[in-house]
């Protein structure tokens, strides 16, 4: 397996898109800290980068990469290699390179400018969000043979989690504002990895006071150690479940 991961890693690192992604991330991060005198404001800017750019690049790059390596997968299949090893190696290779790009691009400026719990949390969550969207990309690309459709799915998935989901939640909040739904809202956030990440970081930034009563409920739940582990556990589930589903489908696929 290691040999295949090595081949995939060298192939991805040769790809200039990952390099450009790293440079753009580091430009954004350095300028976020350079423009704001307050590191908390810089952190908020980077938070938005993590919540929009990182998922988009992760899911799109992975989907396109998977479609482009269909030849490579076919070639490997005629060799004495287990099917699930091929898929797992692709996943590890892509995850490692995207996490590395995020770490170099955003992690290093974070470590230098905000060397505290929030900074570390941000790095961890950024890495997790990258891997979550890589797993979702694996699912998108196995659902259809058509590259255009697969990329469409990937963009829709991103759009849903990055924009539509918040809209739906707001809609629900307004419609049901007369009922005590604050606790239910905590459960609803588990349905979107981006929201999980956002709430986790906002709570650590001490701006949760601005979020009103719901914020207090969130703080009550996510602010505790148990809540912290719960939200990380949920993010990990967001990696494991889509990837497991795609792996099951890949093992049964005719190539």
């Amino acid at each position: 397996m290691n040999r295949i991961i090595k081949i995939i890693l060298t192939d991805i690192l040769k790809n200039k898109i990952v390099l450009v992604y790293t440079i753009v991330l580091s430009l954004l991060s350095w300028s976020a800290f350079g423009l704001e005198d307050n590191s908390a404001k810089g952190l908020l800017t980077i938070l938005n980068v993590i919540l929009f750019t990182v998922p988009l690049v992760s899911i799109l790059f992975t989907t396109i990469y998977l479609y482009n390596s269909s030849e490579f997968i076919e070639l490997l299949l005629s060799q004495p290699i287990k099917r699930n090893k091929i898929w797992q190696s692709l996943f590890f290779g892509l995850s490692a390179s995207m996490v590395l790009a995020f770490f170099i691009g955003a992690g290093i400026p974070l470590l230098i400018n905000a060397p505290n719990a929030v900074g570390l949390m941000m790095i961890l969550i950024g890495c997790l969000i990258s891997v979550v969207f890589i797993a979702l990309a694996f699912l998108c690309s196995i659902l259809t043979r058509d590259k255009a459709k697969g990329i469409g799915f990937a963009i829709l998935t991103w759009l849903y989690f990055a924009l539509l989901f918040d809209g739906l939640v707001l809609f629900l909040l307004f419609q049901l504002s007369e009922y005590p739904i604050e606790k239910a809202m905590v459960a609803v956030t588990a349905l979107s990895p981006i929201d999980l990440a956002r709430i986790q970081i906002l709570l650590h930034l001490d701006v949760s006071a601005m979020m009103g009563y719901t914020g207090a409920i969130f703080k009550d739940f996510f602010g505790t150690t148990a809540g912290l582990f719960a939200s990380f556990g949920l993010l990990v589930l967001w990696v494991v479940i889509p990837f497991y589903l795609s792996l099951r489908k890949f093992i049964r696929k005719d190539l």
Binding site: R3, E71, F72, E74, L75, S78, Q79, K82, D254
Partner: protein
């Protein structure tokens, strides 16, 4: 060596393989022939585990291939249309496959040299013509001295010289006692190669016979004519 029993595969509503049973023995050179879309490539791909059958079993060296993968190390496969990562070079692909196999057995690089691929090892795969891609596929199929060779339309797209080199290589390997499975439409090319013929039609095996029996039955000396006369009789 390869035992196939009641193999059935459907793609949607299309019955690609319909209760196919056959057995292939070591030392034979078997031609798999039949019209386009009769299921030859699907049959080959199920043997390789690339297509998973709906029903039926395949045994390789008396062991079922379900969820197995190591048996593929004793198969050399040359696909009909070789698809390789575009940006890799010829040398890169061969090196990669060597790295994946990671064997210390002796490699058979005869075709690598006789096809003169060594002289263009740093050409990218996407710049290659169909014929050169076929040469790379053939080289990879023979590289690890496999016991079984599965060649899907090996000579299609090769120039006469290259196709002659490949044919000689196939005969040489046959004489070493390997099992060789060839699909082809060029019946005239098979004459000096094959010992058995499997004729497939619409997902069924129409017949599976020794070439000599076939020739005596039909009083013909060429495979192509023997097949033609059988098909005429049927009509």
């Amino acid at each position: 060596m390869i035992e196939i029993k009641n193999l059935t595969k459907k793609f949607g509503k299309l019955n690609v393989l319909n209760d196919v049973s056959l057995s292939c023995i070591k030392g034979e050179c078997i031609a798999l022939i039949g019209p386009n879309g009769c299921g030859k490539t699907t049959l080959i791909k199920t043997i390789l585990g690339m297509v998973l059958p709906d029903r039926g079993s395949i045994k390789f060296n008396k062991r079922s291939i379900v969820k197995e993968y190591l048996y593929r190390s004793s198969i050399g496969y040359m696909p009909q249309i070789g698809r390789y990562p575009d940006t890799m070079t010829i040398g890169g692909v061969v090196e990669m496959i060597k790295a994946i196999r990671n064997t210390n057995q002796e490699l058979d690089e005869e075709l690598w040299h006789s096809f003169e691929l060594d002289k263009m090892a740093d050409k990218q795969m996407r710049t290659l013509s169909g014929g050169t891609t076929q040469k790379v596929s053939a080289t990879l199929a023979f590289l690890f001295n496999p016991e079984v060779l599965i060649l899907d339309e090996p000579t299609a797209g090769l120039d006469p010289l290259a196709s002659e080199i490949l044919k000689e290589k196939i005969i040489k390997e046959k004489e070493k006692g390997k099992l060789i499975l060839i699909t082809s439409h060029l019946l005239s090319e098979l004459d000096d190669l094959v010992t058995e013929i499997i004729f497939m039609q619409e997902g069924n095996i129409h017949f599976h016979k020794k070439v000599d029996d076939l020739k005596t039955e039909t009083n013909e000396t060429k495979i192509s004519k023997a097949i033609a006369s059988i098909l005429k009789q049927k009509k």
